[in-house]
């Protein structure tokens, strides 16, 4: 009885937090997944056409009823100003369909029965099976198209999965670029962070505190502020070029802003503390007796390092490195501000499709793939580093 009362209290205490996380995080993620595979446009804008196409076997042309329905419903959608979404959606299936749909909608007064002949006379594409196959396919509630496109695949009108046309097949390269940038940032952070953490762990308390402050101050400073600093520093007329010119290292200002170099510099700057901090606490916890033992057994310094010190610090390397990689994969602001068009990562395209081309399906599909990538990394992290704490420096 006491136990269940205890749990009742616990449930009451957890409930508000649980409700907020579900309502403002889990549900939105579900909405995103739904947006990536949902296909409401044809069903909602052309319900009678959808019904008329239900009996069609996908060969030749559909019945006169489908032609009549599509002519009437396109005109209605045009008047209700609902045609924009539909035509954008179908244009994504095949370029040029937006123009065809708008043209047909505007031709309402010139169209009369029999509609099959009238529509084909208006535009011969209405007489093509492939157009009707695309329409029929999109009467389904779900579509794999956005996810396929995110993987550089496409669908033929009759439903076969094929490689996407070259000018639209940009996403595998985008994921590869995201991966490569994150990989090198991680390697750089580990290679730079390791000796720094080591030195800090050997200093006297007073110096170590000063050193740690120099790591913690950037760590607590907002990423935008740090990126802004690099944005200013790396300008053509900026302080770094002024310094290089003043020292006579270069004769003319060099272009650093909007390059991959700038992205690496700023990302390493932002993420370096994420390896230094866990490595520092791991190194602090290493018993110096192990190294003394190795030394007394005759191991030279390099051997003591490779055989004793490095293995002991590996948990810190793995924890910090994985943390950096996971964060780097989702980077958005830094590449946008200091990188060029060729340096943008997946996040940029998620924002691009959401805010600029208003293709929510693509934005959601890319977000789902990015989420899947992160989930895999978390699983890997858990396997490699026992007790890997999400977002946490395991102290």
């Amino acid at each position: 009885m006491a136990i269940s009362r205890n749990n009742l209290l616990a449930a009451a205490l957890i409930a508000p937090l649980f409700a907020v996380v579900v309502a403002s995080f889990i549900v939105p993620l579900a909405v995103t997944l739904w947006t990536a595979i949902g296909n409401p446009e044809v069903r909602e804008t052309l319900p009678r056409t959808t019904a008329a196409l239900r009996g069609w076997n996908g060969e030749g042309l559909p019945s006169e009823a489908a032609f009549a329905a599509v002519a009437a419903e396109l005109a209605q959608a045009h008047e209700a100003q609902a045609i924009g979404q539909l035509s954008r959606r179908l244009n994504f299936e095949e370029a040029g369909l937006r123009a065809l749909l708008l043209k047909t909608a505007r031709a309402k007064d010139r169209l009369s029965a029999p509609y099959r002949d009238a529509l084909v006379a208006l535009d011969p594409r209405w007489g093509e099976t492939s157009l009707w196959q695309i329409l029929a396919r999109n009467t389904a509630a779900l579509t794999p198209l956005y996810l396929l496109r995110s993987l550089d695949l496409s669908l033929t009108p009759d439903g076969k999965i094929v490689a996407a046309p070259a000018d639209e097949a940009i996403f595998l390269a985008l994921f590869a670029r995201t991966f490569v940038i994150s990989f090198w940032v991680t390697i750089l952070c580990v290679l730079i962070g390791y000796p720094v953490a080591y030195t800090l762990s050997t200093l006297s308390t007073r110096w170590a505190n000063i050193g740690m402050a120099l790591v913690l101050v950037p760590f607590w400073t907002s990423i935008l502020v740090r990126t802004t600093a690099w944005f200013i520093l790396l300008q053509r007329e900026g302080p770094v070029n002024a310094l290089l010119l003043g020292l006579g290292v270069v004769d003319a200002p060099i272009t650093m802003i909007f390059t991959r170099f700038a992205v690496y510099i700023a990302m390493v700057h932002v993420l370096l503390p994420f390896v230094v901090l866990p490595l520092y606490s791991v190194m602090k916890g290493i018993n110096p007796a192990y190294l003394r033992a190795a030394a007394s057994l005759g191991a030279p310094p390099w051997k003591r390092f490779i055989r004793v010190y490095l293995p002991l610090t590996m948990p810190g390397v793995a924890a910090g490195g994985l943390m950096v990689f996971m964060l780097a994969v989702g980077f958005y602001i830094t590449p946008v501000l200091v990188g060029g068009p060729e340096d943008q990562m997946v996040s940029y395209f998620i924002a691009f499709f959401t805010n600029q081309t208003i293709n929510w399906g693509m934005a959601a599909a890319l977000a789902c793939l990015l989420l899947a990538m992160t989930a895999i990394l978390v699983v890997v992290a858990r396997l490699i580093v026992p007790g890997f704490r999400l977002g946490g420096v395991s102290a």
Binding site: T32, T199, P273, G330, L337, T374
Partner: protein, 273 residues
């Protein structure tokens, strides 16, 4: 580990260079913000407070400052309340799957912020929360509540349950035991959590890009807008003000951390983008 002196010196020099690399960009912003010139160049032609004057007389920057504090404080209150109660529930309850529950409640920390941002944008578009301060507070609460939860849980792990039994034996009813025994002991953890929550909200940009309209612009959002339009030294003065806020928060955090004997230090409040 004693290595050759030459190597040790090299490693120390390298460390010094890296530490300078870490701190230099932050330091350089200070003289730039005090420039009397129109351009962000060093050395500055002279020093003046004109860009701070510009900041404090611009309606955009003042609105952004106001929004940042409103959203930050509201987020800190909401996240601290929800996170502390949740942590207490998880601590007091005796049920299976606690690890899973904590992991689920902490997922906003590992999901790339841009994914959270677009998810909130889609979901808020159905309920009309885009372009509202309420929406921003909810979003920032979700991003920062895991820090509160984990900080308070870490503090609770050092809490001796026998103290509650002792309080009960001495006749304290549960609410009194909570207020007089438990709360004072976990207070440093709660305070740290509140600081993290405020700092997370105060520095957050990606979600603001998606769900805030011009009337809800926060300081980072206004800075970002400024960077993309025209690079004026006012941005440097805004950056300096943000750095000063971060330093105050860091100092307060170190104070609470050394006061409360929390064994673990959950990290960055500055949610990476």
């Amino acid at each position: 580990m004693k290595t050759g002196n030459g190597l040790a010196l090299t490693v120390r020099t390298f460390t010094a260079i890296v530490l300078v690399f870490l701190i230099a960009p932050i330091v350089v912003v200070f003289p730039l913000s005090l420039s009397s010139g129109e351009l962000l160049t060093l050395p500055t032609p002279g020093y003046s407070l004109r860009w701070y004057d510009d900041f404090f007389t611009s309606s955009k920057w003042l609105l952004a400052t106001r929004n940042s504090f409103i959203v930050g404080i509201a987020t800190a209150i909401l996240a601290t309340f929800l996170g502390t109660l949740g942590a207490l529930g998880i601590f007091l309850g005796r049920f299976r799957g606690k690890t899973f529950l904590v992991a689920m409640l902490a997922t906003p920390m590992v999901v790339p912020v841009v994914v959270t941002a677009i998810a909130l944008y889609f979901a808020f578009s159905f309920v009309g929360l885009n372009n509202t301060l309420t929406g921003l507070v909810l979003a920032h609460t979700v991003l920062s509540v895991p820090y509160v939860l984990i900080t308070v849980l870490a503090t609770l792990q050092t809490f001796d349950r026998n103290l509650l039994k002792a309080a009960a034996t001495l006749g304290a009813p549960p609410p009194a035991a909570f207020r007089r025994v438990l709360l004072p002991l976990i207070a440093p953890g709660v305070a740290t959590g509140a600081l993290f929550a405020f700092a997370t909200s105060f520095d957050e940009l990606v979600v603001a890009i998606f769900i805030a309209g011009p009337q809800q612009f926060t300081l980072p959002r206004q800075m970002y807008a400024g960077l993309r339009e025209f690079l004026s030294p006012t941005i440097a003065s805004a950056a300096v003000l943000l750095i000063i806020c971060s330093l105050l928060l860091l100092t307060a955090n170190e104070y609470f951390r050394t006061r409360g004997k929390t064994r673990t230090l959950p990290d960055d409040p500055a949610e990476p983008n």
